[in-house]
Amino acid sequence: MQGIPPMRAPRTPLRAARLAVLTAILALPAVGRADPRLLDEPLRVTAASAPDLSVRGVLLAQVEAAKPAADGEQKPAEAAGGDPKPAPAAGGDAGGMDFDLLGEAKPPPDAADAGALRLRRQMLTAHQVIGFGLLATQLATTIAGQLNYSDKFGSSPTARYQMTHAALAYTDLALFALNGAIALLAPSPVKRSWQMDRVMVHRIAMFTAAAGMLAQGVLGVYTSQREGYLNQEQFAKMHLAIGYGTLAAMTVGVGALVF
């Protein structure tokens, strides 16, 4: 029994010509295969043909540009008579640091006066030193005040802490006024927007302490004038409580800047 012979494509000259044309079309660069357009459609550069401005795209372009050189061929730029050197912006010695890519800098609008900054620093350094002394004095005054209160309104008053407390209190008040004046008079050459920061916490705490200090002074003098009156102890207790409050506010104020 004779089998059926396998079918073979006839290799006619016509079919060979068709294949050759198809291969040639496929081998054409993209420019030769532009998408068909309607005649009334505005002509525009497609995304595929626009330069890729992503960083990666630029780097890939660099790779492509470097390839012919690596193969020992002439670079396209050189072939076209172009200048392969960097743009003038890069200027100077490319191997060193003698280049300026950003040009002349405009001075910042908030350039501060150096003299005012120096004076401010000196005043605030003094403020810092006096501040620590003030905190120590406030602590000592509060302790002396507590001892004075316990002694005066205890079973057998001796008044032995009275002078100490008064001396410390006046010193404290004087230091507070001096230190507050230094802070308020220090120049502020840099204008900054108000914000809730450590300095703001310090200021709030110190204004609270200032109010306490003022109340302490008035109440302290008034309490001492209530000698012999039944309500003297009540005023003294209030004076003592405000003293602790003032000490707490001052501690917060100092702590806000230190820690």
Binding site: L43, S54, A65, A89, S188, D197
Partner: protein, 188 residues
């Protein structure tokens, strides 16, 4: 047809020096200084930055920030910083450097990953220029930008900066700087 042909010609033209511009809104430079009692971080996004990539793979980069733009969250400290940095005489911090990207970033661009680049840099702070090598990580992001991150340390005394003190204790001499920049390719 002429317009299309021109565009194709431009796209296929040899790559010359390409420039990249830092996007300040997406970038920041932060310094960190340490005192015995606390650590201070000051940040700025007021930046100018540019890089030029030459055809041979050499990258030139320069970033500049006004000293007065750093914000540490404490106005008093920032004002003091202006004084020790003598901001009126030396209003800018400038970092510029050179890196060779052959086989580095250029190769990485084909893989779309990250690359480590060593920038031979010069840091100008308080008017004093100091050379140093800054290790940078460059990430090529899908949105077409490059994110550059790195850190380096400067010595305050080497830059002749009087170290501020608190409670008569000076801050550490080492000032660490973190760089986080986003760069975009500039239009030719």
């Amino acid at each position: 047809m002429n317009v299309l042909a021109l565009a194709l010609l431009l796209a296929a033209s040899p790559a010359g020096a390409q420039s990249f511009t830092v996007d300040p809104a997406a970038s920041s430079v932060t310094y960190h200084v340490v005192h015995k009692l606390h650590r201070v971080d000051g940040r700025t996004s007021t930046l100018e930055g540019k890089a030029v990539l030459q055809p041979d793979g050499k990258l030139l980069a320069m970033v500049r920030a006004p000293v007065s733009s750093f914000d540490s969250g404490d106005r008093n400290r920032d004002t003091h910083m202006l004084e020790v940095m003598e901001a009126s005489r030396f209003p800018f911090v400038v970092v510029k450097g050179v890196a060779q990207l052959e086989g580095g970033l250029l190769a990485v661009a084909q893989k779309a990953t990250t690359a480590d680049v060593k920038l031979q840099a010069e840091v100008e702070l308080h008017g004093v220029k100091e050379p140093m090598t800054i290790p940078l990580t460059v990430e090529l992001r899908p949105d077409g930008t490059a994110r550059v991150k790195g850190a380096f340390e400067v010595s305050l005394e080497r830059h002749q900066i009087e170290r501020p003190s608190l409670l008569f204790v000076k801050i550490d001499d080492a000032c660490k700087v973190d760089v986080d920049l986003v760069a975009r390719a500039a239009k030719p």
